[in-house]
């Protein structure tokens, strides 16, 4: 029975199947940031090293969600590589302060999106409009179910930073909902 289960030819790794499916997309997103073919390949590799043990919450069949997850990880890896490459890898709290300043400076203010709408779909759009720094941690937690520690591992940031970003993202959304009278 053991040999049958282990020797199943269809028993490819989930990560392998996801790689086959999303490698071009991941590469393409990484390339946009890094502007270097080899570095983009490295970003894909590093992404898989990170996610290979964290795929239990990823549903292979739900393509758009999974696709978004793969891109979140790869883009963050690419950004991290870019920062290192450009010697912009500042202290986390300093980076976070910068992130905080960016929250209202994305050009897509969630408040504007919700002016005339109050459904969950519009709140989803508000989330989509958040600065990716906040949006990614928020989605990893709320949409994919990862805990702060797991997110910290996936995005290569301290757990404390994850918590800060989550709190700020929530606060931003809360302001939107309050303004719209939803809560």
């Amino acid at each position: 029975m053991l040999l049958l289960q282990i020797g199943n030819p269809d028993n490819r790794l989930k990560a392998e199947r996801l790689y086959e499916k999303y490698r071009y997309l991941m590469y393409s997103e990484a390339y946009k940031i890094l502007q270097d073919e080899r570095l983009a390949e490295d970003a894909v590799q590093q992404s898989f090293i990170k996610i290979i043990n964290n795929l239990h919450k990823i549903d292979e069949n739900n393509c758009p969600r999974t696709r978004n997850f793969m891109v979140i990880i790869c883009v963050n890896v690419a950004k991290s590589m870019c920062k290192k490459r450009l010697y912009l890898n500042k202290r986390d709290d300093l980076t976070d302060d910068m992130d905080a300043a960016e929250i209202t400076d994305t050009g897509n203010d969630p408040l504007d999106i919700l002016v005339d709408k109050d459904s969950v779909k519009q709140i989803a759009r508000a989330i989509e409009a958040l600065n990716p720094i906040y949006r990614d941690v928020l989605l990893l937690k709320r949409a994919y179910g990862y805990g702060p520690k797991e997110i910290a591992g996936l995005l290569e940031i301290p757990e404390e930073t994850v918590k800060k970003r989550l709190a700020r993202a929530r606060k931003a959304l809360s302001r939107v909902l309050e303004k719209e009278g939803i809560i």
């Binding site: 282990i6 071009y24 969600r65 969950v120 779909k121 959304l173």
Partner: protein, 229 residues
């Protein structure tokens, strides 16, 4: 807790629920709206690195599975041992209980069962059964085998006795009405001796069989037979 705190908690919960639902929709929308990428020809180094990564992970998974199934096999084996132990113990306990029950009910009871749930032995012939001790002057008069029960009838000048042996799953009937019944011991096993109107009956059992001796022979002689079966 003040009303204000309760309100805040409710509001927080509502907000969390809304965000959870909206986040799932957002994740889906973002994935849908991504442009289809162009096919890329990856470098050989990259493909090799990826193969290596997956191979390493497969090996890790393989050993994890081996370890998991080994543990399951060990647990299964342990369970078999434990269950076997419990079964033996239960049958043994059950026999003792039956024996005790019989003694208590001996005035009216005349049937002893040693274990309906026990594994049944194959049938055998009377030729396979011999007694290691036959009192002087006794000779075998009759052999009888029926299914899993064997009877050997011995006759002396004045006395007689019948030795019966049956699979432990079977039952042995004895007449205990107005009989004097007592517990005794043979080879460390509990046995039952019944005496009524000069007819003595001894019932005993081993692991797989139950035995009965009935006749006019004295109790001491019976014990000698059983000890040498």
């Amino acid at each position: 807790m003040s009303d204000n705190n309760i309100d805040n908690k409710i509001m927080d919960k509502i907000l969390d629920d809304i965000i959870d639902e909206a986040a799932s929709i957002a994740a889906e929308d973002l994935g849908k709206n991504m442009p289809e990428p162009e096919t890329v020809v990856f470098s050989k180094e990259h493909e090799e690195a990826m193969r290596k990564l997956f191979r390493k992970e497969r090996n890790k998974l393989f050993f994890k599975k081996v370890s998991k199934y080994s543990k399951r096999a060990a647990v299964f084996l342990l369970a078999v041992i434990v269950i076997s132990g419990i079964t033996v113990f239960s049958v043994e306990a059950w026999r003792v209980r039956v024996m005790n029950f019989f003694i208590e009910m001996s005035e009216t009871h005349s049937d002893i069962k040693f274990g309906e749930n026990s594994a049944k032995s194959d049938s055998y012939t009377s030729d396979e059964i011999t007694l290691g001790y036959i009192p002087k002057g006794f000779r075998l008069e009759k052999r009888d085998a029926k299914g899993s029960m064997v009877s050997l009838a011995f006759k002396g000048e004045e006395d007689y006795f019948v030795f019966s042996m049956i699979d432990i799953t079977g039952s042995i009937g004895i007449d205990t009405e107005n009989a004097s019944v007592k517990k005794t011991e043979i080879n460390g096993q509990e046995a039952l001796f019944s005496s009524n109107k000069n007819i003595n009956i001894l019932v005993w059992h081993s692991e797989n069989f139950s035995y009965r001796l009935s006749g006019t022979v004295e109790e001491d002689e019976y014990t000698k037979y059983f000890e040498r079966i």
